[in-house]
Symmetry: C2
Subunit: 130 residues, 2 copies
DNA sequence: CGGGATTTTGCGAATAGTTCGCAAATGAGG
DNA sequence: CCTCATTTGCGAACTATTCGCAAAATCCCG
């Protein structure tokens, strides 16, 4: 009976490796370009399918950028945290913050609003870009 | 000499009126459908152009939804605040919160990160949907 | 209220990002 | 090394959004 398989293939390894070395959100097209630069010939379709696959496994986080283009980054959603995104270079730094969590909790109480999640992003310039 | 004009037209009034009565983020297509329902025949191009126009005036806020489709809502960005979005009906409630601002400020100090902005969204169920 | 300069609209075509179908290639396991 | 399920590549299809241009609407001023 078909228990879903999960093949390890070159394209998947290459794509994961691109994501692994870039601490920023990349679009499918950017990943595809990165593969070409590395001399790895992978179709854009496969990039999209692999990204869906990685997302399904919970290995990457997707986020539409300001223009609506979807971008992806290696990021365990298990350990809850937020992001600080550099406006200049796009570098993403994790912001793990108990105070923020606590604040969100307190909001749950107020408002007739049953809070079950939140998304927080900080923008600015990272140390290197200042 | 051409100081930019700003014509008041039926399409623009109709579109603004749709936005004015919906406390949630709507896509261009949804707005277009709303216009048709009202018997107002406006082209989709005009919907997009009017949304750009309103955004330029600072009358509406745009936000790509989870799938990357851009959605719009009447919302003065002048008074800084955040949103609580109902997972069931999409209703958006404003969350004006000094504590959050203060928290963001404190983050500016830590990290080598020069914070110049942030985006916060809360998700859950509004009173009506619980 | 009428005329003319300027802006806006509608339409259809063009673009960009993403998905899909299907045959060929690849990985897992015996 | 053989077989079978999964994955890939390709090109076509789709969807959201933008654009060019001629026609229509708006504004302003007399």
């Amino acid at each position: 009976m078909g228990l879903r398989a999960d093949y390890v293939t070159r394209p998947r390894e290459w794509i994961a490796s691109i994501l692994a070395r870039e601490p920023r959100f990349l679009s499918a097209a950017q990943i595809h370009q990165g593969l070409e630069r590395d001399g790895a010939r992978v179709s854009l379709s496969t990039v999209y399918r692999t990204l869906d696959h990685l997302q399904g496994k919970g290995d990457i986080t997707a986020r539409p950028d300001a223009d609506g283009e979807v971008t992806y980054m290696l990021c365990e959603p298990s350990r809850h945290h937020h992001h600080a995104i550099c406006r200049t270079c796009g570098r993403v730094e994790d912001v793990d913050c108990a105070a923020m969590e606590q604040f969100a909790e307190s909001l749950r109480a107020r408002n007739g609003f049953e809070l079950d999640g939140h998304a927080i992003e900080f923008f600015g310039k990272c140390g290197a870009c200042r």
